[in-house]
């Protein structure tokens, strides 16, 4: 009880002492020095944190983009694998060694892709289950295709049943898992972009910077009144330094932000749109081959006119995707548009023959060559795929350029912010000390 009273008395007396101090000029100067130091520390921390956060966001965007690209490549190679398997089935017996090799390559690419993703993703990001699902079903799928092939070699119709089952596995298990993967990574990418352009960090930096600036200005005005000396070199230098740092931060953050937004708009957005197109085009091609190979039959496999129904459903969104990509990226989409139109035309020729009941002719149009020097659907699909791949590559390079600029804009901030803030605080303290010394 006694000690509490003593503590209260001590506190009261120190409050009184502080108040007495503040009444004197040196006391006020000391308070200003204290506030300036604190404010500089806060500013330094906030700015450093903001710069760090943004640099990390840029890194995260880069890393996630790589995962997204891997996920997309996996989707493409999976649907490609199936398109090739279905096509070589349609082409009939005996299977050409070249098409066998194509299938093996595509399958190898798929399994390398899923293994690579499993390694890159690790445990952290929530895509584990999707990767596991693909890892588990890929060998099952390959087994079904081999069974289809072995039975087909002997002329057994159960071969086509195995191919249908493989098709179902691909469509109901593997492609959805690959799409989940794509979705998860795409969402991570968006989160990265969001963090990279977050306004809150900017606002905090601006607030801390303005506080420090205001303190400096106020101290100088007060000092000018007190000492009738207008300029205090230390404080003036500190102010100039702070202003410089603020301009640097402002321009660096703006440049980084613009570059990041550009990376999304001209880089990863078109990549996503075009690869979605690529995946759908592969799916449509596989659907057509399987429908023709099955010559109809079955509710789940497209039949006769249904050769077209699956194709139409799968290709319907492509127009919109291409238009969006064109809005963003401009001219080169024209090539893709042309390839896509050619593809649709060749397919409609196939459908025409199917409707006439001439499967042999329809197959020839799908496999070998179109009418009057036109390509077969297979050739048209390959051309479309190649055009899309090329444009995806271009967009990916644009993304990398922009990311490099975003990263470059932040260079030096990590060392610059603490160094300049400390220097600024030291200069201010130095200026104040000169005045304080006059009172000794």
């Amino acid at each position: 009880m006694g000690s509490a009273a003593t503590a209260a008395r001590t506190a009261a007396s120190s409050l009184v002492a502080a108040r007495r101090q503040l009444a004197t000029t040196p006391g006020r100067l000391r308070l200003a020095a204290l506030l300036l130091t604190l404010s500089a520390i806060v500013f330094g921390l906030v700015a450093g944190h903001a710069a760090g956060e943004r640099a990390r966001a840029v890194q995260r965007v880069t890393a996630t983009d790589q995962l997204l690209v891997s996920a997309v490549e996996l989707s493409v190679s999976l649907s490609n694998t199936h398109a090739i398997a279905a096509f070589s089935f349609l082409r009939g017996r005996p299977e050409r060694p070249a098409s066998r090799r194509l299938y093996d390559d595509a399958l190898g690419q798929s399994s390398a892709g899923v293994a690579g993703l499993a390694r890159e993703i690790g445990r952290s990001s929530g895509s584990g289950p999707a990767v596991r699902r693909i890892t588990r079903t890929l060998p099952v799928y390959a087994g079904l295709v081999e069974n289809a092939r072995a039975n087909n070699r002997q002329g057994f119709p159960v071969g086509s049943a195995y191919l249908r089952k493989a098709s179902k596995t691909m469509r109901n298990a593997m492609l959805p898992a690959a799409r989940d993967l794509y979705e998860i990574e795409a969402q991570h990418l968006t989160t990265g972009y969001r963090r990279g352009v977050s306004r809150w960090t900017l606002l905090a930096v601006a607030l801390a910077g303005c506080t420090l600036l205001a303190l400096l200005a106020f101290t100088q005005i007060a000092l000018a009144h007190l000492t009738r000396r207008i300029l205090n070199p230390g404080l003036v230098l500190a102010t100039v330094l702070l202003l410089g740092l603020l301009v640097w931060l402002g321009s660096a953050f703006t440049m980084q932000q613009n570059a990041l937004a550009e990376a999304q708009r001209t880089g990863s957005d078109p990549v996503e749109l075009l690869t979605a197109t690529r995946i759908l085009a592969s799916r449509a091609q596989a659907d057509e081959s399987i429908a023709l190979a099955a010559r109809g039959g079955g509710e789940e496999e497209p039949r006769l006119e249904d050769v077209d129904r699956g194709f139409q459903a799968v290709t319907r969104p492509i127009g919109g995707l291409l238009k969006r990509a064109a809005d963003i990226a401009g001219a080169p989409i024209g090539v893709i548009d042309d390839a896509y139109r050619t593809y649709l035309q060749t397919h409609s020729k196939v459908v025409e023959q199917v409707q006439l009941g001439d499967f042999t002719r329809a197959e020839a149009l799908a496999v070998h060559h179109g009418t009057g020097g036109a390509p077969s659907t297979k050739q048209a699909a390959d051309a479309l795929g190649a055009a899309l791949d090329r444009e995806v590559g271009v967009a990916q390079r644009r993304f990398e350029d922009a990311i490099e600029r975003a990263d470059g804009a932040l260079t030096g901030l990590g060392a610059g912010i603490p160094a300049l803030t400390v220097l600024c605080a030291l200069l201010a303290l130095f200026g104040l000390r000169r005045r304080l010394e006059e009172y000794r």
Partner: protein, 339 residues
């Protein structure tokens, strides 16, 4: 070339810096959302086929055997005349059933017992069958709908004549007698449906075989196309396949490690199905069958299903009797088994 945009960019940069470090460039996930939505595209399922409800239930026991009288020739205004003018007979077949209806990829031709009969019909109309038939491959479940929609002229696809089906379409006279049996792995000890109680048994959707599983206690495992059942058996997902012996015979040829077992579960009488609008075409087809005669039909049977012993008349009537008893029992205590 880049001067203008660059200047714009630097102006923008200054403005940005001026507006208290405010974020002026923003990001959006529109493009991503449309990509993801596009990738979620599903192929719409075709509409389910529901046979129209018959107006009144007729007893059709005698219809099995009473063939419609035959005439043979093609009168003007008849449906055969229409087909002849068109130049093609449009038929619905299964292309995956070895020995009955099968597309041989090396010959690039359809073959089988059902196909031979359709060729006989085409020959009767056109004088030859080559290039005169448009084969439309259909699943078991689609057989009834393609007849009713008029998409095909005639269906021959191991199509059993039943009371229910006769309400909605015509059938030719019987051209083949099959028995519903079981296919199991060669080391299996299951011989009858009662051995398989509680186990999964594969059958094709909408087949008479799957309907006959009602009330037997086995778990039906429905599939789309006939050979899908063989896949299920080979992958170990089912203990047995039930189908007509004519179909099982084709399966056994594709997998030597299986055997056909079981007493006859039901007798299936195959006929060619025709739309109810064309009774004259049914008579015509019956005429064709009559002209082939028992000897002609037997020749075709031997050609495709020679390895299968044909049931004797006694066996047939015994099996009919047993399945009638079973059906009556099932009616008395209905068990919920959905095919």
């Amino acid at each position: 070339m880049n001067a203008a945009p660059r200047r714009h960019r630097s102006v923008g940069l200054i403005v940005c810096a001026a507006v208290v470090l405010g974020g002026c460039a923003s990001v959006s996930d529109d493009a991503q959302n449309s990509s993801l939505a596009a990738l979620a595209t599903q192929v719409p399922a075709p509409k389910d086929y529901h046979p129209p409800k018959p107006e009144k239930t007729r007893s059709c026991d005698r219809l099995f055997h009473s063939a419609v009288p035959s005439t043979g020739r093609m009168p003007a205004g008849s449906y055969m005349e229409e087909i002849r003018k068109r130049g093609k007979l449009i038929v619905g077949v299964d292309q995956n059933t070895l020995r009955l209806g099968y597309f041989d990829p090396s010959d690039k031709a359809m073959e089988g017992l059902d196909i031979d009969l359709l060729r006989a019909v085409a020959r009767a109309i056109f004088g030859r069958s080559k290039d005169r038939i448009v084969f439309k491959a259909i699943s078991t479940a689609q057989r009834e709908s393609v007849i009713e929609s008029g998409e095909v002229d005639i269906v021959a696809s191991a199509f059993s004549i039943t009371c229910d089906r006769l309400q909605n379409m015509y059938f030719s006279s019987v051209y083949y007698l099959a028995q519903q049996k079981l296919l199991v792995l060669e080391d299996s000890t299951d011989d009858t449906l009662s051995d398989l109680r509680g186990k999964e048994v594969c059958a094709t959707k909408s087949s008479t075989s799957i309907k006959n599983l009602a009330g037997t206690g086995v778990v039906p495992h429905p599939v789309e196309l006939r050979p899908d059942c063989l896949v299920e058996l080979q992958e170990g997902n089912v203990a047995a396949i039930t189908a007509d012996d004519s179909i099982l015979f084709g399966f056994k040829q594709q997998d030597r490690q299986t055997k056909i077992v079981g007493r006859c579960i039901n007798v299936e009488r195959y006929g060619m199905a025709i739309n109810r609008r064309h009774p004259e075409f049914v008579r015509f087809v019956n005429g064709v069958l009559k002209r082939l005669g028992p000897a002609g039909l037997e020749r075709i049977r031997r050609r495709w299903l020679g390895g299968l012993t044909a049931p004797t008349g006694d066996e047939i009537s015994q099996c009919d009797h047993r399945s009638a008893l079973r059906r009556a029992a099932a009616r008395r205590r209905p068990q919920p088994v959905s095919p």
